[in-house]
Symmetry: C2
Subunit: 338 residues, 2 copies
């Protein structure tokens, strides 16, 4: 993979917030020519010479969707994020360019976040915080998580990390993924997404941990919500476009489901006049569930490790199946739903 004609140094283009050299890339400095770019035109200019592109700013990453065609000898693109929907164009998918991402870095932090959301619902923290603001002492009984049922949609690393924390709380855990199976160590019983309506009525918490692909887009609409319990809470840490937000708002307003915690949205940032902000039973957070203190250096480290593998001709970590739109799990049949 690492053939560079005529012994010249490979050119690594780093797309970031600015053009300042990134601390953490020093190990590459004497092996490659590093070029730091921070805008679409700069990326387009640099691509002609690029052997490797490191997309280190998730907000600018969509620039590659169009610009990649300017590349002449690009071999490899690495993404400092997990979701591929912003960069994976049909053209890139059909090219020989290898695409890797930062899968796995956010699984445990997001699983903690999801458990926090479930506990916030069960223990009614939104009401507690609101009463505190108003200096009102008002005792309420609250729910336990133990004994409740969590349905985790998506059986990749993230879905399974969520399954682990939910099981540790004594919850009953089920999964939904592309392929049904009954031997998953974390999610135990996994139903096929095509059959999800058979298990939605059992779930107290439905947690969406899917990649966005053409097959998963709008998976959660009126039909799915109609199969959920009126006491159920819907939690989305995947992508906003997995959900028909208008149908979700209807389901919440009509009491068809009890609540939702959303960290991702069809439009981000969520506009100030969006109805979700004020809907009772809804928790809105700004796409932050996985962003632990230290994520940026951790992702840089992963890129540096992958670069050393690339340089030495070893197999790269986190190679995306560009046709599927995600990285199939190593374990046979352990793909996330698509």
């Amino acid at each position: 993979m690492t053939q560079i004609e005529d012994g010249r140094r490979p050119v690594v283009v780093v797309l970031g917030v600015d053009r300042v050299p990134l601390p953490g890339l020093e190990p590459l400095a004497d092996q490659v020519s590093l070029r730091f770019v921070a805008s679409v035109p700069e990326l387009e200019d640099a691509l002609a010479e690029a052997d490797v592109v490191f997309l280190n700013d998730n907000f600018r990453s969509p620039a590659l969707r169009h610009a990649w065609a300017r590349a002449r000898r690009l071999q490899w693109v690495h993404l400092a994020a997990v979701g591929l929907d912003t960069v994976l164009s049909d053209g890139l998918a059909q090219s020989d360019i290898v695409l890797t991402n930062s899968r796995g870095q956010f699984d445990e932090p997001i699983a903690e976040y999801v458990l926090g959301l479930m506990l916030a619902f069960a223990k009614d923290f939104p009401t507690t915080f609101d009463l505190q603001h108003r200096h009102v002492w008002q005792h309420r009984d609250t729910e336990n998580l133990a004994g409740k049922t969590a349905l985790v949609v998506g059986a990749g690393g993230l879905g399974r990390a969520i399954g682990r924390v939910a099981r540790a709380m004594g919850m009953r855990v089920m999964g939904a993924a592309r392929t049904a199976r009954t031997d998953d160590p974390d999610l135990v019983r996994i139903v096929a997404v095509a059959e999800i309506e058979t298990v939605l009525p059992e779930a107290d918490y439905v947690v969406v941990a899917l990649p966005l692909t053409p097959d998963t887009r709008d998976m959660f609409g009126a039909r799915a919500f109609a199969h959920m319990k009126p006491t159920a809470r819907f939690i989305n840490v995947g992508r906003g476009q997995l959900v028909d937000e208008a149908a979700l708002i209807d389901a919440l307003r009509s009491g068809r489901i009890a609540g939702a915690a959303l960290d991702v949205f069809a439009e981000e940032p969520v506009p100030a006049d969006h109805p979700l902000w004020d809907l009772p039973g809804v928790i809105v957070s700004p796409h932050m569930s996985g962003d632990f203190f230290g994520w940026a250096p951790a992702l840089l480290e992963l890129f540096v490790e992958n670069f050393q593998r690339w340089r030495q001709g070893q197999p790269l970590l986190n190679v995306v199946d560009k046709q599927l739109g995600y990285i199939p799990s190593q374990a046979a049949g352990a793909e996330p739903a698509s």
Copy 2:
């Protein structure tokens, strides 16, 4: 224990919110004379004839502190709560009257609540909810619980339940109790409370799960807070009087510690003008951490089970050591700190 002279029916006095017969006590109805009382004067009147008193309303339970001396043949008092500080007078402690409580019913719900509070701090939910109210999209990085250290003060059933959930999150867990030991299955390493200052500096979360006794009163004051990290959070689900609230407020205002989540207070309800309501980094909840939906029937069931034991002369569940002021754990050395 269940000797009743001359074959008459034992008299069971039930102190509750009102005088209406309690659903759930039907199994006793043909074995005993049930008397339902709902005020101090009614309790005092009824005590003269009582063989058993069931204190089924925690707010009225302190009535027994003075009234118990009116009893002439009282053998046993059962409390539908865990904390004994409200009922255990010196006189009652020195009497032959057996005292039992509802220990164990709230351990798992409170452990869930405490984990919810730790995640609320780690994931900065108070800020998220506040920004949501204001329709403001503002990304922040947040903390993980995994790898952080929790110091659980109190190694009874509650402290150990908290230890279990914290360990399940990948936290490092330590305990503090009356007796040091290193083999606890849930808290692993337990230091003696007398040595707590040696471990306070290591804790990211200090969780108080102690009974209130003369020895534990005001255990957390300026000296303890001075030994904590500036990033530490203090969580109290024991009793308000375990903490010197003025010292806690000083520690929070001066940045000596980062936050506190309090479910119990020196004065309850907390007065509307109390400074804790508005202190940054503080979560105030109204003494509700253990009160899961269904706790009332669960506690009634426990009393009915204990009554059948009493009637049949079997050992009672949850017999309090009235000198200690709590129930020592079965396991040798497994007492909560005192």
